[in-house]
């Protein structure tokens, strides 16, 4: 299980030539850059925001910022952390916005759109499909109920594969604090998911 997660968080480091082309905003390089980072950005903001519509808005904002800041890209370094930091900052701005807070207050647990964006396609076992979808929804709901700092720690670590140092760098804290937040997040999730685990 964990190996598959780690696999999906690791992206190949693009060549310096490609990144130089991204800096010049050449269409072909931008397309390759987009393909390389889209899933990662969307997955991150979806996990952090817990809603497909907000995730789409945030993803668009992230790529807008990336496009505007492309000339500042350092071609000698893996742009993954840079992209993640921008995505995290966009989410943080959203968390602080009144519109987002209002929408979070009005989201119902029964909202059909308030779940994981992926629908399993196992048509041969509709019952298992429903159960799996429900379990995923419960987990995503539990992540969404975490305080934002804890949510960021667990999402960055589990879905982005970040070290505590990298989490600290992105969220503006210390590695020790990042580790504590991650531990607290797991403890909170354990409480929230207690009934479903047993």
């Amino acid at each position: 299980m964990t190996s598959s997660i780690r696999d999906r968080t690791q992206t190949a480091v693009p060549s310096v030539v490609v990144l130089e082309a991204v800096r010049r905003r050449e269409p072909q390089a931008l397309a390759a850059f987009f393909e390389q980072h889209f899933d990662r950005v969307y997955g991150l903001v979806y996990r952090l925001l817990g809603d497909r519509h907000w995730a789409e808005d945030a993803t668009q904002e992230v790529f807008l910022k990336l496009h505007r800041a492309a000339h500042t890209l350092d071609p000698d370094r893996d742009p993954g952390a840079w992209v993640t930091t921008i995505a995290y900052n966009v989410c943080r701005d959203l968390w602080r916005s009144g519109a987002y807070r209002l929408s979070r207050q009005s989201i119902s647990i029964d909202d059909p759109d308030h779940g994981d964006g992926a629908i399993p396609s196992n048509r041969e076992d509709p019952e298992g499909e429903l159960i799996a979808a429900e379990r995923e929804k419960l987990v995503q709901d539990a992540i969404g109920r975490l305080p934002e700092s804890l949510r960021a720690a667990v999402v960055l670590r589990e879905y982005q594969g970040f070290s505590y140092e990298e989490i600290a760098s992105v969220t503006g804290t210390t590695p020790v604090a990042a580790r504590k937040r991650y531990s607290r997040a797991l403890a909170e999730l354990g409480k929230l998911l207690e009934s479903t685990i047993k």
Partner: protein, 272 residues
């Protein structure tokens, strides 16, 4: 990126981790993905309106607090500065002699030096042949007669700090209030009495035998330090004998009327 299997070995939350890691990766709508890619590559990303405007990155709270406190401090400083009444100014005196300000003797003709030395709370003794006028423009004017010793009050503030207290140890002090004194309070204490002034022109005569207050205009309240206050109407006087408890009232002293009228009229230009 890290090998989380190695780092998580001590977390002790295997069930929770299993559930978290078991989530299917979220997939965006293909149409959204294609549209965003097209816009990103063409450079038109952001032209399309978003569902909700995302506010720009906010400043750190500490900076917000710091700027808020700085602004509050600046406003407080500005208000305090604007609240300051005009400072005391000594007007030229025709007499000769000195004014002792906090023990320092200054020739009465050196009005600039006098103005520089006198402050609210200064103890002043006039050793001159003629009166000395002190003015806080628009607020309060005082005339000290030769031989008067007093502690100068702070002129009342514009909006707050509107209560002031002066002390006359001995001698004769004439007071007239200006337009900006309205609503303020001035208490003048003598060895025998307390005088409460609210917009008036009056004379306070502090002698060893007692205190006499003559009111030309407005109303003042006079009483012994631990006794009831007596209202003194325009044109009348009130006397509090040394050690006495019951003030006596009567017509104001004939000698004081022209002096108070003169003071009021001369100060008209700077007080109103």
């Amino acid at each position: 990126m890290i090998d989380r299997e190695a780092e998580n070995s001590g977390d002790g939350e295997p069930e929770v981790l299993g559930r978290i890691r078991g989530l299917t990766p979220p997939r965006a709508e293909p149409s959204f993905r294609e549209r965003l890619k097209r816009d990103f590559v063409s450079g038109s990303v952001g032209d399309r309106p978003r569902g909700v405007a995302i506010s720009p990155h906010r400043r750190r709270p500490i900076l917000g607090w710091a700027s808020g406190l700085s602004a509050a401090a600046a406003v407080a400083f500005l208000v305090a500065a604007l609240n300051q009444p005009p400072r005391w100014t000594a007007l030229p005196s025709g007499g000769s002699g000195n004014v002792v300000v906090n023990g320092l003797s200054i020739p009465v003709r050196e009005t600039a030096e006098l103005t520089r030395r006198i402050r609210p709370g200064s103890r002043i003794r006039l050793e001159s042949t003629k009166e000395l006028d002190l003015v806080s423009s628009g607020v309060l004017a005082m005339q000290l007669s030769p031989g008067t010793e007093m502690v100068l009050p702070p002129p009342p503030g514009r909006w707050f700090g509107r209560g002031a207290r002066a002390n006359v140890a001995g001698g004769l002090l004439r007071v007239t209030t200006g337009r900006r004194f309205h609503g303020a309070r001035l208490a003048i204490t003598t060895p025998d009495a307390t005088v409460r002034v609210t917009s008036t022109t009056l004379a306070v005569i502090a002698q060893p035998a007692g205190t006499c207050v003559c009111v030309l205009e407005g109303t003042a309240h006079v009483g012994p330090h631990r006794g009831a206050m007596t209202r003194v109407r325009p044109g009348s006087r009130c006397e509090v004998a040394h050690g006495g408890q019951t003030p006596k009232t009567g017509d104001m002293l004939d000698a004081e009327r022209p002096r108070l009228v003169d003071l009021r009229d001369r100060m008209q230009a700077v007080m109103n």
